[in-house]
């Protein structure tokens, strides 16, 4: 029934190979390259849609497809296999759907770039890796995708190879991700070994893990340590405290990359991973609590940094970190469905926001270039009043802004509210997680509207020479904006909670994946709160109120009294500087981790490698040289000496033989 499942990830791989091998020398034409890349992802999308609807009408919800055996050693049996269930079906739709829109957008955005073919080749490779990640039927195939997306992230952050800052950001992202990957692998080994040696279940297959995971025992040490290791992996990939610092720097890459990799798909891999291993996580309340608290702290911490950033992409980057924090809150309190739901809506509105910012930067860049100015095209202080110049970009940006702020009726309202309700009412939740989440929601509304006002409203602050050259972007860029804006508007309607009279389709759709663990380990809304609709309405009202408060403050500060932010900065200079410099986290990491590691590395190089290792090797060679310099004097080249030595030797041998 799902015979061609393997085609979904292979399509982008084919696109990647064609463009990567032939793009530079043979195809050359930008249009053809763009169409091949976009088409490859779009075909995957069509196939995903077909299978998605097939799954909707299918009574069996979990389908495995093994393509071939990969590793077969003793007890270890690993296949190249795909898993198609509601969770991966949804992820496939998001990845291929948003992916094809962003590819389409890139055709216009990357126009004229000398690395055009390289860009699309990397993008396709990324989609391939991401699809392997979400469809793999065992943890090792997932790990291939996990590493693959990390590699593509590295390649695309460092896409502008002539910029040193881009290269540095790419390296930072890669190294920080490695730390997380290390945790992921350790967790994998621990689960595999414990399940195998103690319970005789040697498996990395997700279906079998879900089936036999309970053998590890509820709250057991092994499962707690393993899931904490997995979570370390998730913090690396999904930019949570303490490993979030790479994501804001990753904005050095082209904007479509930020939209696809660093907002919509790759950074949600950690959330997906926890969802995929929900049985293991559900068994460790300690880990779940850690996940929820780290998520909450990240949500509020990143939001606070977003207050003072002037680079439009950095604001969005911190917003992404903060929203990912929400998803981890959801995962931590057992609201797996809500987490995946927010992942999906976030993919829509954040991709839209990033693409809008890309559209603005594109326009700004061209205008500034035209006027021969080298002002920063990403600095919001150079923008302002763009809503008349770029109406489509403005409208879609505004819709997404309203959506992320949690205004009722738009997508993020439903997902965010579901998360907050669970944070408060779940058996694994607590009021302080809810409180932090609600405050962060208000902060989100504030900085997003600050961003909106600074970019699109008020006086136009662009240099007068460049002002009139700002135009709306071409159609290939605005169509994805409109589609994503529309999805940001209505995407939430698949998950209207029951209390608002909705059917919560997504909840029922994902039930087969999460329901089992939730039931087995008593994760759900507390019994006492089950019927208190008043409380649910109340909490909803609070979060709506906080959101509107954030919007009002932003309106007051940036629309009505544009001088106010400046005065505020002057009144609290130290505070502002700390926020502006991201709470000096990078500096602290540099001092605590990076520099000691660097000096240790220098020591290993100059102290250990050069002196000890090379010393031993060169010393041995020198010793042999000295010995042979002495010994070679015996090689006189005189026949008589050799003959004498031979006779002498014979005499000695005979003497030994005779006298023995």
């Amino acid at each position: 029934m799902y015979d061609y499942l393997w085609l979904i990830p292979i399509m982008p791989l084919i696109g990647c190979i064609i463009n990567g091998l032939l793009g530079k020398k043979f195809i050359k034409n930008e249009k053809v390259i763009g169409v091949i890349a976009t088409g490859a992802v779009f075909m995957s999308f069509l196939l995903s849609v077909k299978y998605f609807f097939q799954l909707l009408g299918d009574p069996v919800k979990t389908h495995e497809q093994v393509v071939m055996s990969w590793i077969s050693v003793g007890n270890l049996q690993i296949d190249w296999g795909f898993l198609f269930d509601p969770l991966s079906a949804l992820m496939l739709l998001v990845v291929t759907g948003v992916g094809s829109l962003i590819h389409l957008y890139s055709i216009g955005y990357m126009h004229g770039d000398p690395g055009y073919y390289r860009f699309f080749s990397y993008m396709n490779l990324f989609v391939f890796a991401m699809l392997m990640l979400v469809t793999g039927n065992n943890a090792l195939v997932m790990f291939i995708g996990w590493e693959g997306v990390g590699l593509c992230s590295y390649l695309l952050i460092g896409f502008y190879i002539d910029k040193k800052s881009a290269g540095d950001a790419a390296k930072k992202a890669f190294v920080v991700n490695r730390i997380g990957d290390f945790g992921f692998l350790l967790g994998l080994f621990l689960v595999f070994w414990t399940l195998g040696s103690e319970h005789g279940v040697w498996t990395l297959n997700f279906v079998e893990l879900a089936e036999h995971g309970h053998l590890l025992g509820f709250g057991g040490t092994a499962v707690t340590i393993a899931t904490l290791c997995f979570f370390l992996g998730a913090t690396g990939k999904s930019a949570q405290i303490p490993l979030y610092t790479w994501l804001p720097d990753a904005m050095e890459g082209p904007t479509p990359v930020s939209a696809l990799i660093h907002a919509a798909t790759m950074v949600t891999a950690g959330v997906y991973m926890i969802g995929r291993m929900n049985v293991l996580f559900a068994m460790s309340p300690t880990t779940m609590m850690t996940v929820a608290i780290i998520g909450a702290l990240t949500a509020i911490f990143a939001a606070s940094i977003g207050f003072a950033q002037n680079d439009i992409k950095r604001v969005l980057a911190y917003s992404t970190v903060s929203q990912l924090g929400y998803m981890f809150i959801a995962m931590g309190v057992g609201a797996f469905t809500a987490g995946i739901f927010h992942l999906m809506t976030h993919a829509f509105f954040k991709a839209c926001l990033f693409l809008c910012s890309g559209s603005v930067i594109h326009a700004m860049h061209h205008a500034l270039h035209h006027a021969h100015l080298d002002d920063d095209a990403q600095d919001m202080r150079n923008m302002g009043g763009l809503r008349k110049k770029m109406p489509i970009t403005f409208i879609t940006f505004a819709i997404s802004c309203v959506a992320i702020a949690g205004v009722p009726g738009l997508s993020a309202f439903f997902s965010k509210d579901e998360i907050l309700w669970w944070a408060f009412g779940s058996t694994r939740g607590s009021w302080y997680v809810w409180a932090i989440g609600a405050i962060a929601a208000g902060m989100t509304a504030f900085y997003m509207f600050r961003c909106l006002y600074m970019t699109f409203f008020g006086k136009q602050k662009t240099n007068a020479k460049a002002k009139d050259h700002i135009h709306e972007s071409p159609l290939s860029m605005t169509i994805p904006l409109m589609v994503l804006g529309f999805l940001a508007l209505v995407g939430g309607y698949i998950g209207i909670p029951a209390v608002l009279g909705g059917a919560n389709h997504i909840h029922h759709f994902l039930e087969p994946v999460f329901g089992h663990a939730q039931e087995a380990y008593h994760i759900g809304i507390k019994e006492t709160l089950h019927h208190s609709h008043a409380l649910e309405y109340g909490l909803m009202a609070v979060s709506i109120g906080v959101g509107f408060f954030g919007i009002l403050v932003a309106t007051f500060m940036y629309m009505m009294n544009p001088d106010l932010p400046g005065k505020f900065t002057k009144a609290f200079p130290k505070f502002h500087r700390a926020v502006f410099n991201k709470w000096y986290v990078d500096e602290i990491y540099d001092a605590l981790v990076v520099n000691p590691t660097k000096s240790f590395g220098t020591f290993c190089w100059k102290g250990f490698d050069v002196k000890v290792i090379d010393g031993i090797v060169n010393g041995l060679a020198k010793l042999i040289g000295l010995i042979s310099a002495g010994l070679r004097h015996t090689q006189t080249g005189l026949f008589h000496n050799y003959a004498l030595a031979m006779v002498f030797g014979m005499v000695v041998m005979v003497a030994i033989f005779v006298l023995r």
Partner: protein, 100 residues
């Protein structure tokens, strides 16, 4: 009566003379001749012992030694001629290209 000891003594004297020649002479041909002398002293020992022990093995060995000596002499003389063509000499002191 000439006993096997006399043969042994003659062979030992011949062998020592041969060894002395190999060690002291510089002319390659003479060294060759000295080596032949050593081989023949050994042959003499073989024959004498063969007779003394009533065992024919020693005599068979002598045939082999003679054959090998003839072959070796042919190869050795060939080498000498080749060397002479290059260095206009057959003095072993001049064969020293491989020294350090």
């Amino acid at each position: 009566m000439i006993s096997v000891y006399h043969y042994m003594t003659v062979a030992a004297i011949l062998f020592t003379i041969g060894t002395y020649g190999v060690l002291t002479r510089r002319n390659a041909i003479v060294i060759f001749m000295s080596i032949e002398l050593m081989l023949n002293s050994v042959n003499l020992t073989f024959i004498a012992m063969s007779r003394h022990l009533n065992n024919m093995d020693g005599q068979i060995f002598v045939f082999f030694v003679m054959t090998v000596a003839a072959a070796e002499a042919a190869v050795g003389l060939g080498l000498m001629i080749a060397f002479y063509r290059n260095r206009e000499s057959i003095d072993v002191e001049d064969i020293n290209l491989l020294k350090w």
